[in-house]
């Protein structure tokens, strides 16, 4: 008997020391913690998908330099999701074969629904950093979260900008503004436009003079719309477009000499894409697009901890890509940093503890990368007024940050927009 007791004691001691050893090892980051990263790396969405992956990798390295997650080194199991079917099957594979408990991705509104559905079925955390489909957080999935605002958030910000910045500069009250809505008809365009229409009307009493939808895959001529808009004489044109239709509208508006006081868009496509500037050169001057912070962004306007983070992030992006952070880097990197904050607090990937930590997180604007803050709602969506967004304007071939003014050194020009050949 004593011998057996001794044996048990020895085994117990070994277990305890083993456990202690494991703890010690954890602190020196010898263990690894693996999460799944799902992005389209081939196919038509690959360009943006690779940029997101780059953003994740840059912030992953920043996280590991600061102690990793849960005392372990953060590593990725990367999977390619060129289409919704692949997104779902790769999410399954990451869970069943790679054994991950957290998946992050997938930027496109075409992919995030399928990928998160698959993850949620395994009761695994799905951490979306970019897609803007408004339906994403309306499915009652308890393990699905989104750090970026959705398309309705874009509409919210656009109306905020029109009512609180443009209207005073026109010398008008918001309810004296006439606004024409034009939009492509996918879930992105409809999400932004419908929420903007609602807020403009209900909260500010703006006068909606038109609301037109079109399919961006088959629009060949905007002149009938422009002829109609010219007669309605809107102060503001709110146009959500893609990369082929936005330059077409702008070129034809110029040809038809359609004059309006301001033109507002949201998102990284259309007027928010570098292609818009390439298509129009200096003729692009004046168009607004709601985006992540761009040139002119004042880091000093952030909170002290946010300043330090944003600086390090920019330097890391500069070092790796040689340029200012692009939207993909900012959304993926900013989102991954929030995941780290949650894991610091939860110290577990158990879905319930993770969720409790997400709900407890409460940081004001200016605290983290991109000048964001955090406050998640019960449906897993980060709050509009915490995920600070910025209005950028095309000024001489470049998209620069112009609003909110406390965050930027640049100022919005050409308000109200003058004749087409006077915007130099």
């Amino acid at each position: 008997m004593p011998r057996r007791t001794l044996a048990i004691t020895v085994v117990a001691l070994m277990l305890v020391t083993g456990g202690l050893l494991a703890v010690v090892h954890g602190q020196s980051l010898s263990g690894e913690y693996k999460i799944g990263v799902l992005e389209p790396l081939t196919g038509p969405l690959a360009g943006e998908g690779k940029r997101h992956l780059e953003g994740y990798e840059i912030v992953r390295d920043m996280i590991n330099e600061r102690g990793g997650v849960m005392g372990k080194k953060l590593v990725f199991a990367v999977a390619d999701a060129p289409d919704p079917t692949a997104a779902a099957s790769e999410a399954n594979r990451l869970v069943t074969r790679e054994g991950v408990k957290i998946i992050t991705g997938t930027f496109s509104s075409r992919l995030c629904g399928a990928a998160s559905e698959a993850a949620a079925r395994h009761n695994v955390v799905y951490w979306e950093t970019s897609c803007v489909d408004p339906r994403f957080n309306k499915r009652g999935l308890k393990t699905v979260f989104r750090t970026e605002i959705d398309a309705t958030g874009f509409g919210w910000y656009n109306v905020e900008f029109i009512a609180k910045h443009l209207a005073p500069r026109f010398g008008k009250k918001p309810n004296e503004l006439k606004i024409a809505f034009l939009s492509e008809d996918s879930s992105y365009g409809q999400g932004v436009t419908e929420s903007a229409r609602q807020r403009a009307k209900q909260e500010f009493g703006m006068q909606e003079v038109a609301a037109e939808y079109y399919s961006f895959t088959s629009i060949n001529d905007f002149t009938p719309i422009i002829a109609k808009f010219k007669q309605l004489a809107p102060d503001v044109v709110h146009h959500i477009g893609y990369t082929n239709d936005a330059p077409l509208f702008w070129r034809q508006a110029r040809e038809q000499n359609f004059l309006f006081r301001a033109h507002v868009h949201a998102g990284a496509t259309g007027y928010g894409s570098p292609d818009f500037g390439k298509a129009l050169g200096a003729d692009a001057n004046g168009a607004f697009a709601l985006l992540e912070p761009g040139p002119g962004f004042r880091i000093e306007a952030l909170r002290p901890e946010g300043q330090k983070l944003e600086r390090e992030f920019r330097e890391a992006v500069q070092k790796r890509t040689g340029s200012y952070p692009l939207g993909g880097h900012q959304l993926a990197g900013g989102g991954l940093w929030l995941l780290k904050l949650v894991l610091d607090r939860a110290r577990s990937d158990d879905p319930d503890k993770f969720r409790a930590a997400v709900m407890a997180l409460d940081l004001p604007v200016g605290s983290v990368i991109n000048g964001w803050g955090v406050k998640f709602a019960e449906n897993g969506q980060n709050a509009n007024d915490r995920v600070q967004h910025y209005m950028l304007q095309w000024q001489n071939g470049q998209l620069v940050t112009v609003w909110p003014e406390e965050f930027t050194t640049n100022r919005a020009k050409w308000i109200p927009l003058g004749a087409w050949d006077r915007r130099k």
Binding site: E212, Y213, P224, T243, L248, E255
Partner: protein
């Protein structure tokens, strides 16, 4: 009704602009439809890959302009022989095998070719949107209350010239007569000593040369990307059915009608309605005048 939708005398300017827009947009549709109607009318093949040859023409203009700064109007002259060659090669490799097969086989083949070409473009040139921006694409001509884009005016004039040239070729040349004979009755034409394989090869090559040239001409007006052809090709089918198979002048008139429906419908009812409107027209033509508005009754079954 709001004030914008009331067409009163005060809105002559708007009407004039809608008219100009119709004619210019119709010119672009005609450019694309002329090649399609030729192939459709003579070979009785529905070429679902037509839009992809348009896309290839747009890429030719893009690369010539961005890599060598060659103006699309210079590329136009080079594009015709290039795409004639592309047509010959495509015919030899793909179309010859299915020209006598059933319509289903032909449809599967050309749909397959369409998807293959889109993906080749995607692999070679990525899904990025490319822009061709020669000096004339931002030149605006103003006349009274209307405005025209110079590139669009040129595209329209070339569309008219191309239609007239093809019409004359079909009507008054020996080869044109041989082509029409083959379209009317392939078997009888063979018995008369016509090499129908040669006729089909030539028809396909001319059709592809026409749409390749169309691609070069529309490149300054629209973004270039691997699925750019899809934006126009559905319309081209409507135009061809409207105008009657193989009818060049019908294609021109059909293009103007489709453009008018699109422009005026978008103005009066909203742009979301434009596809509803011209597909209703499409179905109505198929139901009541299956040979097209200008075609001969019964012509659609010839050579089938």
């Amino acid at each position: 009704m709001d004030s914008a939708r009331r067409l009163g005398p005060a809105q002559i300017g708007v009407l004039a602009q809608l008219g100009v827009s119709t004619v210019l947009l119709g010119g672009i549709y005609a450019l694309i439809a002329v090649g399609l109607t030729l192939i459709f009318g003579i070979m009785r093949v529905v070429n679902f890959a037509h839009g992809e040859f348009l896309m290839l023409g747009m890429y030719l203009a893009f690369w010539a302009f961005s890599a060598y700064a060659v103006d699309p109007y210079v590329v136009l002259f080079v594009s015709i022989p290039i795409f004639f060659g592309v047509g010959l090669v495509t015919y030899a490799l793909v179309m010859r095998g299915v020209i006598h097969a059933s319509h289903n086989v032909q449809i599967f083949t050309t749909v397959g070719l369409s998807t293959a070409l889109q993906n080749v473009a995607l692999v070679l040139w990525t899904g990025d949107f490319r822009i061709v921006r020669p000096w004339h694409s931002s030149v605006v001509i103003r006349f009274a209350d209307t405005a025209f884009n110079l590139s669009q005016v040129v595209a329209f004039l070339i569309a008219v010239a191309l239609t007239v040239a093809l019409f004359a070729f079909m009507k008054w040349t020996h080869t044109g007569r041989v082509m029409r004979a083959t379209a009317q009755d392939g078997d009888a034409a063979t018995l008369m000593g016509i090499d129908t394989d040669r006729v089909y090869r030539l028809t396909f090559a001319i059709g592809i040369a026409a749409v390749g040239a169309a691609g070069v001409l529309v490149a300054p007006l629209y973004a270039v990307y691997p699925t750019a052809g899809l934006q126009f090709v559905l319309l081209a089918y409507v135009v061809v059915v409207l105008g009657g198979l193989g009818d060049m002048v019908g294609a021109m008139l059909g293009s103007l009608i489709v453009a008018a429906v699109e422009v005026i419908g978008s103005y009066l009812f909203g742009v979301a309605w434009k596809e509803v409107l011209y597909f209703v027209l499409f179905i109505a033509v198929l139901a009541f005048r299956p040979a097209g508005l200008f075609g001969q009754r019964g012509a659609e079954t010839l050579g089938a």
